[in-house]
Amino acid sequence: MKIAVCVSHVPDTAAKINIAGDGKGIDQTGVTYVVNPYDEFAIEETLKTKEKLGGETVAISLGGEANKETLRKALAMGIDSAVLLKDESYRDSLSVAKALAEEIKTQNAELVFFGKQSVDFDNSVVGQMTAELLGYNCISVVVDFKLEGNKVIAEREIEGGKEVVETLLPAIITAQKGLNEPRYASLKGIMSAKKKVIEEKPAAAATNFVDAVTMKRPAPKQAGKIVGTDATAVPELIRLLHEEAKVI
């Protein structure tokens, strides 16, 4: 079986994000990029599934030259091959999904792992969209995954608990934290990843429906009140919450 994993390349979550002069993008100075944290769970699950059932694995990323770093990391963790769908320009989620769907078809992958969300634009949609475009089944925000023959049994997180969901292959799974513990790349993995060739192709064209108008900073919260420096401040704190804020 061919198993694919889609990975995105995003600013480190600790990065300070400044808005660029044109108000349409972010200032790249000093921003380091990493594998999208949720995609590490997706890569790990891809590797675990291959270890159990055999098959071949491929990592796919859509973006610019820089995304090769993230693909290298996937290769270093143990993914067999990598494809960069090259496009340096802005794309909305659906147009990303359309290009990924084309590539997944070409790869003939029956099972595809995604992260639940890219921590740049925080959309949490590309996996579900890609599945619809391919006519694949899809379970999102998965914290437990099992494959029994053709049958997928997964648990997804919802408010106040989990849903146990069943479906059949071909399927797309989007990974949530808790699904597994991503492995570290071994030295051997890193060395062999360096030698592998990342296949490059142009990303299939698609229209954007989402126009970014402007970026702005959230209104800064006004400096709060330090009510006191020990437990004697508690009655005043509770009074403020009760009478001023009226929240308790």
Binding site: N123, C138, I139, F209, A212, I226, G228, A231, I238
Partner: protein, 322 residues
């Protein structure tokens, strides 16, 4: 071409959820600004109080009914919703950004080849067009977007839009039975975390961080939460330490919450934690380090030892509750 707004009502166990009422009221406001019609759709079996959404501004509800649709089924729900939107010519679709809405909205966008703006915190009209504001980079930046597609889909962050009543009227309900829903992907079981309120839905959250020192000390967090009818939350540090389950984690790789009151106990306020809770209406912080970043966004703070402050809070709240 005129607009037509469609709101998805989410039901769980036959109850319409509060986030849906927020969506209804938002649709009502939009429909008066855009002078267009709005209606709602709900999928399920036995649903209580559907008429009551009339009070929030929508007079017409289509109810798709089948005994296998009481629980969520991504395949069935997405087909029904997409087909209904097509048949009725909906041009604006509003969905609550809950776990169900987040799963469903992108499927509908792909089926209808529609533009999608997720997790909106405001919908504004400029030159008769909707401008949606959504937090990106974990809330470090707000992005305004416009959708240029024929059908436009917006999901609304819960607890941000208000669900105010606009009058007293009963909505008309039209129920139709669904034949052979597509259950190719279906929920076979729901595992509830025992009787606990989820951080994603709570009005008040009491969260503990590494400053709590051990799993046992979370009794204090739980007690305070229970007194306030709140959910208990956690920082990633304590989830990674195994003191609390991941379902309680607030932050960039946990849950995004915007309760009315967020109480942070022994949490430093790392950027990834703030990402998940900075849109809370009121933030209270208790931390012994006066320079902890959490104080920069807290409305009220006590610089002090949680092991002294929290028991005092419990006592004081008992007083006002009695």
């Amino acid at each position: 071409m005129g607009n037509k707004i469609l709101v998805l009502l989410e039901q769980r166990n036959g109850q319409i959820k509060k986030a849906s009422l927020e969506a209804v009221k938002t649709a009502y406001d939009l429909s008066s600004k855009l002078s267009c019609e709005s209606e709602a759709i709900v999928i399920g079996n036995d649903i209580e109080n559907m008429e009551s959404i009339g009070n929030y501004g929508i007079g017409k509800v289509k109810h798709y009914k089948h005994s296998d649709l009481q629980n969520y089924s991504p395949s069935a729900y997405s087909k029904i919703l997409a087909e209904h939107a097509k048949e009725t010519g909906a041009s604006i679709i509003i969905i609550p950004n809950t776990s169900l809405g987040k799963d469903l909205a992108p499927r509908i966008a792909a089926k209808l080849d529609a533009g999608l703006a997720m997790d909106c915190i405001s919908l504004d009209i400029q030159n008769s067009e909707i401008v949606a504001t959504r937090p990106i980079y974990a809330g470090k930046v707000l992005l305004d977007v416009k959708l240029n597609s024929t059908v436009k889909i917006f999901t609304l962050r819960p607890n941000v839009f208000t669900a105010a009543m606009v009058g007293e009227s009963k909505a008309d309900i039209e129920s139709v039975n669904v034949d052979n829903p597509d259950l190719s992907t279906k929920v076979v079981e729901i595992k509830k975390s025992e009787g606990k309120l989820d951080v994603a839905e709570a009005e008040i959250i009491v969260s503990g961080g590494r400053g709590m020192k051990s799993a046992e000390h979370f009794n204090m967090v739980e007690e305070l939460a229970q007194l306030l009818g709140a959910a208990s939350g956690a920082s990633r540090a304590v989830v990674d330490a195994g003191w609390r389950p991941h379902s309680e984690q607030v932050g960039q790789t946990g849950k995004t919450v915007s309760p009315t009151l967020y109480i942070a106990l022994g949490i430093s306020g790392a950027i990834q934690h703030l990402a998940g809770m900075r849109s809370s209406k009121y933030i209270v912080a208790v931390n012994k380090d006066k320079d902890a970043p959490i104080f920069q966004i807290a409305d009220y703070g006590i610089v002090g030892d949680i092991f002294e402050v929290v028991p005092a809070m419990i006592e004081e709240i008992k007083k006002i509750k009695s």
